[in-house]
Amino acid sequence: MNPPHRPRPRLDSVNTPFWTGGAEGKLNLCKCADCGEFTHPPLPLCRHCQSENVAPHAVAGTGEIDTYTINHQPWAPGLEVPFVIARVRLDGAPGVYLTTNIVNCPVEDVDFDDKVQVVFEEQDGIFYPLFEKVG
C-alpha cells in the first residue's frame, strides 16, 4: 500500500507564504514591520500591536525540540508507524512553535532540546516543513 497523502491545507491569502515558501527553500512566518514580533498562526494583522503592516519573513529554519511524542497509532490506512510528532521552537522567532515531524533518524534518537533544521517535503505544491536533527 502506498503511504497516504498528508492532509492538505487549504491555501488562502494569509497562509500561502507559509505553505509554499519551501519552493524557494524559505520558512516564511508572518512578521510585523512596526513592532518586530511574529504572529503565528498567521493573521492579516499583528497579534501583538494590531498593526496591519505585516509581511512574510523568512526565518533561519533552525530551532530546538520543545516537546514531542512518538506516535504509534496509524491514523490513516497505510500510514507507517512509529514516527515523531514534535513541537519545535524556532530560532529568531521567540514565542513561535511549529507542530511538525522529526524525520531522517530513528524515533529513539529524538529528545528534548535537540537542535533541528527544516527540510521541506513537497506534495502537490504544498511544501510541508519537517525537521531533522543537526549534526
Partner: protein, 388 residues
C-alpha cells in the same frame, strides 16, 4: 436558599453504550426523563434548554442533537435556549444556564450533552464521517503532520511534564487504574469497563502516542447526560435537596494547542478560587475531565491540590485519589472508565456524590463540596458545586 443563585436540581443519564441502536434523540429524551424524575419536575415547568456544542451537521456522531430539536420533541415552551462551541469548554453550557436563571430569563433549564460517536461509525450512511483531505482553520497546523487526534497534542504536554518534573508512567497509570476500579462499581459503565485494569496490563498494552497507551485514552461512546439548572427563587418547585453552583470559571488564552506551554486548566483553576470563600481544603471530591489520562493531573495542579509539577507524586500509588482516599477522583470511572460522555459526566457525578446517591460507589462521610471540570489543551471550564 438565595434567590439570586443558580442550583443544579436534577441529573439524568441514558443507557451508556458502544454502538447503541437507539436513536440519539431518544437517548437524549431518556436522560431528560430521568433528570425530571430526579428533580421532581414536569416538562411544563421547563422553560430553557442548553447544550454543548449544539448540533454539528458535519460531524453528527460528535453532536447529533441540538437544543431546538429537544424543544420541538418535548413541546417545551422555551424562553431561552443555547448551543454553542465557541466558549471555554463543555461545562460552560451549565454556566450559561446558571447565568440565564440568575438573570431571570428562565427558571428551569435542561442542559444536555449527547454523544453518538460509536453508533455513528457503525452507521456511516446515516452519519457520514467527514475526513477531509483538505484542512483549514486550526487543524491545518497539526493535521498535515498526522497530529490528527487530541491524543497526540495532549501527549506532548504529558511528555513535557515527565521531562521537567519527573512524572513516571507508573504514576500516570494511577489515573486509568483509579478510573477502572471506580467504573466497576458504576452499573452504567459496564459497556466500557468489564474487568478491573491491572498495572501489568496497563504497562504491556499498546502505545497510542507516548506516553499514552490504549488505557490513557477514552473511547467513543453513545449516551446522553442531563443536568437541570434552576433559579434560586424556583426551588420550592423541586423535591430534592439542590446543589448550588457556588462558582464557575473558564479561560482561553491562545486558540491553539501548540502555542501554549501548559493547558488552560492552570488559569481556570486559579480563577475558580477567586470567586468563592471556599478553598481547595474544603473540597470533598473532584470530578476531572480525563479524555486523556494526563488532564486530571493538570487540574490537580491548576486548582492547587498540589504544587505545579507534583501531580505525578500526588497520585502515586493511587490511595489518595481512591474513592475512600483523602481526595476521591472520578468516582464514577471518569471518561476512561465510564465512556466519553464529553464533560457532562463530571457534573452528573459531582451532584450524585453530594446528594449521597452514589450507591456502591458513594464516598464515605457527608460530602458537601465538589469540583467538576471539563476541557483540555487551550480550553477549560470548572464548576464549584456545594450543598450549603
Amino acid at each position: 436558599m438565595a434567590r439570586n443563585e443558580a442550583y443544579i436540581t436534577g441529573v439524568g443519564q441514558s443507557e451508556v453504550g458502544v454502538r447503541l441502536p437507539r436513536h440519539p434523540l431518544l437517548l437524549t429524551i431518556d436522560a431528560v426523563n430521568e433528570a425530571l424524575a430526579d428533580a421532581g419536575l414536569t416538562l411544563d415547568q421547563i422553560d430553557g434548554v442548553c447544550t454543548y456544542p449544539g448540533k454539528v451537521p458535519s460531524f453528527l456522531g460528535f453532536s447529533p442533537v441540538g437544543s431546538d430539536e429537544v424543544i420541538e420533541a418535548l413541546g417545551i415552551r422555551s424562553k431561552w435556549h443555547n448551543g454553542a462551541m465557541e466558549q471555554p469548554a463543555q461545562l460552560s453550557a451549565v454556566g450559561n444556564a446558571a447565568q440565564a436563571v440568575k438573570e431571570g430569563l428562565c427558571r428551569h433549564v435542561i442542559c444536555f450533552r449527547t454523544v453518538y460517536e460509536a453508533g455513528a461509525m457503525a452507521n456511516p450512511r446515516e452519519y457520514p464521517m467527514s475526513r477531509p483531505d483538505t484542512v483549514s482553520g486550526p487543524s491545518q497546523w497539526t493535521s498535515p503532520f498526522w497530529a490528527i487526534s487530541a491524543a497526540c497534542w495532549t501527549a506532548q504536554y504529558a511528555m513535557r511534564h515527565m521531562h521537567k518534573y519527573g512524572m513516571t508512567r507508573e504514576q500516570l497509570a494511577q489515573i486509568a487504574l483509579n478510573a477502572s476500579r471506580n467504573a466497576m462499581k458504576n452499573p452504567r459503565a459496564r459497556a466500557i469497563t468489564r474487568e478491573e485494569l491491572t498495572l501489568d496490563k496497563y504497562m504491556s498494552s499498546r502505545m497510542i502516542s507516548t506516553p499514552f497507551c490504549l488505557y490513557d485514552c477514552d473511547r467513543f461512546t453513545d449516551a446522553s447526560t442531563v443536568v437541570i439548572v434552576s433559579a434560586g427563587d424556583a426551588l420550592d418547585e423541586v423535591k430534592v435537596e439542590p446543589v448550588r453552583i457556588a462558582a464557575m470559571s473558564g479561560s482561553v488564552d491562545r486558540y491553539s494547542w501548540d502555542q501554549v506551554e501548559w493547558p488552560a486548566a492552570y488559569e481556570t483553576g486559579h480563577d475558580l478560587w477567586t470567586r468563592t470563600d471556599y478553598t481547595a481544603k474544603d473540597v470533598d471530591t473532584v470530578q476531572f475531565y480525563d479524555g486523556f489520562a494526563f488532564l486530571p493531573i493538570t487540574w490537580l495542579e491548576g486548582l492547587g491540590f498540589c504544587e505545579k509539577g507534583e501531580g505525578g507524586r500526588f497520585i502515586e500509588g493511587g490511595t489518595r485519589i481512591a474513592s475512600d482516599g483523602e481526595l476521591p477522583l472520578n468516582t464514577f470511572g471518569g471518561q476512561l472508565g465510564a465512556g466519553r460522555l464529553h464533560g457532562f459526566g463530571f457534573a452528573h457525578e459531582a451532584v450524585t456524590q453530594l446528594r449521597g446517591k452514589g450507591g456502591e460507589r458513594q464516598i464515605p462521610g457527608d460530602p458537601k463540596v465538589a469540583v467538576a471540570t471539563s476541557g483540555g489543551g487551550p480550553m477549560a471550564a470548572a464548576l464549584l458545586l456545594a450543598r450549603d
